[in-house]
Amino acid sequence: MEGNTLKRKHSRIRTAAVIALVVAFLFALMWFLQCLLMPKYMKGIIEGAMTAEYYDSKEPHEVIFIGDCEVYENISTAELYRKYGISSYIRGSAQQLAWQSYYLLEDTLRYEKPKVVIFNVLALKYDKPQKDTYNRMTLDGMRWSSSKVDAIKASMTEDESFIEYLFPILKYHSRWNELTSDDWKYLFSHDRVTTNGYYMRVDIRPQKEFPPAPRLTDYTLGENAMSYLRKMASLCRENDIELVLIKAPTEYPYWYDEWDAQIVDFARKWGLTYINYQDLKDEVGLDMTTDTYDEGLHLNIYGAEKMADHIGAFLVENYDLTDYREVPEVAALWEENLRFYDDLRAAQQKELDEYGELRSWGIGAVEN
C-alpha cells in the first residue's frame, strides 16, 4: 500500500519534471525564433535600431535631444562634443510621434537626469497614431517599463494589438521567408549604427523646389499631441530640467506659420525657449545646395555639423554645462564615440568617392 503511494508520488514528480522541461524547451525555442525573426535594422533602414542603442551608451549626457528625423539627422552629437565638450544623446527615431517622445523622455529619466532637453516640434502635426511599422521601429527597442507600456497604448493603430508588442514574434513571424545572413549574424548581438543617436550621411544632393504647401481646413495643432507637449514641459519642470523647443531648418514637410504661432504662444506661457531654425539658416550658415543629402528633406553631415556649431554655442552660453573634454573618464568614452564617427565618415566618403553614391547606407542598401 505504502509502496503504491510512493510509486504514484514518484510518477507525479516525474510527470511534473517532464512538463517543466517541455515548457522550458518551448520557451527557449520561442525566444530563439523571436530573436531570429525580429528585424535587425543593421543595414538600410537602421532607424529601428536607434531606440535600443541608447542603453549601450556608457557616458553621462547633459543634453538630450528628442524627436524625429529632424533631430537625429540634423544635429551632429560628435561635433557638439568636439567643439564644446557637450555630452549629448539624441533619442530619436523615424516618425517619432509626440507621445512617443514624451515616453522616451520618461524612459531616459530612469537612467540619467540631463540638464537640458531639446524637443523638435514637427511631430506635433500628428495628432493620431500613424503607421504600425514606424511605431515598431520606435517602440520595439525600448526596455520594458511602465513608460513603454504607456507608449505602446498611446501609439497603437486600430489594427495593432498589445500582445504583438509583448511577443514580437506574433508580428514578425511572416519574415521566415525573407531571412538573410544578417538575421543570423545579428541573432544575439548588434553593431553600432549611430554616434549617440546621430544618423550620418556624407553624400550631397542639393535641395529642389518643393510642391506648394497645401491649404488646411484647420491649422490648430491637435489636442492630443499638444497634451503630450504639456506633459513633457511638466516633466522637465518637475525634474528641474530646461526644456528647449526647436524647429529644424528643413522646409519640407511644411511647418505652417499658424503652427509656429501656437508654439511661440506655448513657449511664452511656459517660459520656454523656442528656436525656429527655418528663420536662422543664414545665421547657421546652411547652404542647401551642399548641406543636404536628399534634396532638402534632411541635412547631411556638413549641415548637421553647422547646426551643432550653432546650437552648441547657444547651449554653452545659456546653460551651465560641463566641458566633458576636461573629465578624463568621460573623455575616454567619447574618444570611442569619435572614433566610430570618424571611421564611419571615412567609410562613407570612400564609398562615395568610389561609386559616386552611397550603396551600403540608406534605404537602398541591400542586406546580405
Binding site: 517541455v22 525564433l33 533602414i45 523615424a94 516618425q95 511599422t133 489594427d159 495593432e160 514578425y172 521566415w176
Partner: protein
Amino acid sequence: MLFTSYKFIELVLCLFAAYYIVPRRVRWPLLLVFSYVFYWLCDPKYLIFIGTTTVTAWGATVLMGRADAKAEAYLKANKENMTKDERKAYKKRLASRKKLFMVLCLLLNLGILAVTKYTNFVIANINTFLSKGNAIRAVDLIIPMGISFYTFQTMSYVIDCARGTCRPEKNPFKVALFVSFFPQLVQGPISRWNDLSKTLFEGKPFNASDFGSGLMRILWGYFKKVVIADRIITGVTMLISYPQIYTGVFVFCAMMFYAFELYCDFTGGIDITIGIAECLGIKVTENFNLPYFSKNIKEYWNRWHITMGTWFTDYIFYPLSVSPKMLDLSKRSRQKFGNGVGKRIPVYTSCFLVWLTTGIWHGAAWNFIVWGLMNFVVIMASQELEPLYAKFHGRFGLKEKSGYKVFEIIRTILLMSMIRMFDCYRDVPLTFKMVGTMFYKFNFNRLTDGSLLKLGLSASDYYVLLAGLVIVFSVSLYKARKGTDIRSALRGKTALAGFVMAVLFAVIIVFGAYGDGYDSSQFIYNQF
C-alpha cells in the same frame, strides 16, 4: 470573433484558468458567463437573438414537462376509472398539446432564422422576377453569428422534448448554456441535448492527461486552420475573383485549393472546438471522420459534417418519410408505377426536400440551393447505378483491389470538390461555365509559366502548403490504418507528447498566416 483572433485565445486562456480555480458546482455557470461574454464581445445585439431562442425553447419545453407531469399524475389518480380507450385519447390530447408548444417554438425560431438570413435573398429574387432592379430595397438586418447552428441545436432539443426522448430542463440557465456554449457557437458541431448535457454541467475535476490531449487537439486545429486554410485562401480568392483570366486548368487548381481550404478550415475549427471542450472535461460530438477517405458520396456525407447530416435525417427526412402525405404518395405511386419505381418516389421526394433545405441552410443564395440539389442528383444517380456497379465489380473483381479503392477515393474527392465550386463563383451560370472550361480549355502550360506565383502565394508558401498537407494526410492515414488517432497513441508518453506540442506550437506561430505581418515596403523614407 474568429478562432484566430487574439481576443478569442485570451478568452479561452482566461476560461481555462478560471474554470479549474472555481468550485465544481459553479463551473457550468462560469461557462455560461464566458459564453455570453464571448457573444457580447462579438456584438451586444446578438444577445437579443440568442436570448429569445433560449427563453422560448426553455418556456416551450418546461410547458411540455409540466403537461407530462400533470398527465402522469392524472393518469395515476384515475388509473381505475379510465378505460384503455380513454387513456389513449387522453395521451393523444397530451401529445397534440406538446406538439402545439413545439410548433409555436419552431415557428418563432425558424422564423427569426428565416427573416434574418433570407429576407434579402427573397427581396433580390422578387426584384429579379419582376425585372424591376431595386424595386424593393434590401433591408439592413443583423445576422447573429452562428444563428443557423444554435437554432438547429436548440430546435433538436425542443423536438426531442416533444417526442419524449429528452427530459425538459427546468433550469433556464442550463438551457442557456446548452444553446450558447461558445466554442461550438461559430461553426458547430450541432450537438444534441442528451449527448452534450452529460458532461456540460458536470464540472469534471482537472485531469492532466485529458487537458493535454485537448490542448494537442486545439493545436492541431490551429495548424490546419492557420498554416494551411488561411494561407491557401489567398490563392482561392484570386482564382475565383478573376474568372475571365483563370480558366481551364486554373479552375481545377481553384477546385482543389478550395477542397483543401474548406477541409482544413472546417475540420480545424471543429478540432479547436472539441479540444477546448476536452480541456474542460466536456465531450462534444465528433463532426468529421476522415471524409476524404470516402469511396462514394453517400459515405462521404456520413463522414463530413456528421451532426448536420444526422440532424437533417432525424428531424426532416424521417418525419417526412413517415408523414401521412408521404405514406399516401407511396401508396399511390406504387399503384401507378409498380413496386420497383413506386417505392422510390416517396424516398426520393423526401431526399430531394432534405437536400433542398440543406442547401438553403448553408446560405441565402441560389448557389447553395443548386449545390444541395447537385448533391441530391449525384446521390440518387449513384443509387440508381448501384446494380450496374455491382455487376461491373462482380465481373472484374476490382472492388477489393487497393488500386481501385484509391481510384474510388480520388473520384469521390473530385466529384465533391466539383459540386462545391458552387460555393465559390459569383452565381450559378458562371459556375457551370467555369467548371465547363476545365473540360475543353487545356492550358496546362500556364502551370509552369509563373502564373501560380501571381496568386498572392510565393514559392515558399507553396512549400509550406505542401508540407502541411503531407502532414495532414499522414495523420489521417495513421487514423485510417490504426483506427485510432495519434493523440491516443501519445497518451501516457508525456515527454514525446510535450515535444510534439511544443514543435506544433512553434510551427503555428512561425508559419501561420495570421496578423498583419511585417511589411518593410511600408517604409516611405521621406515621410519620416
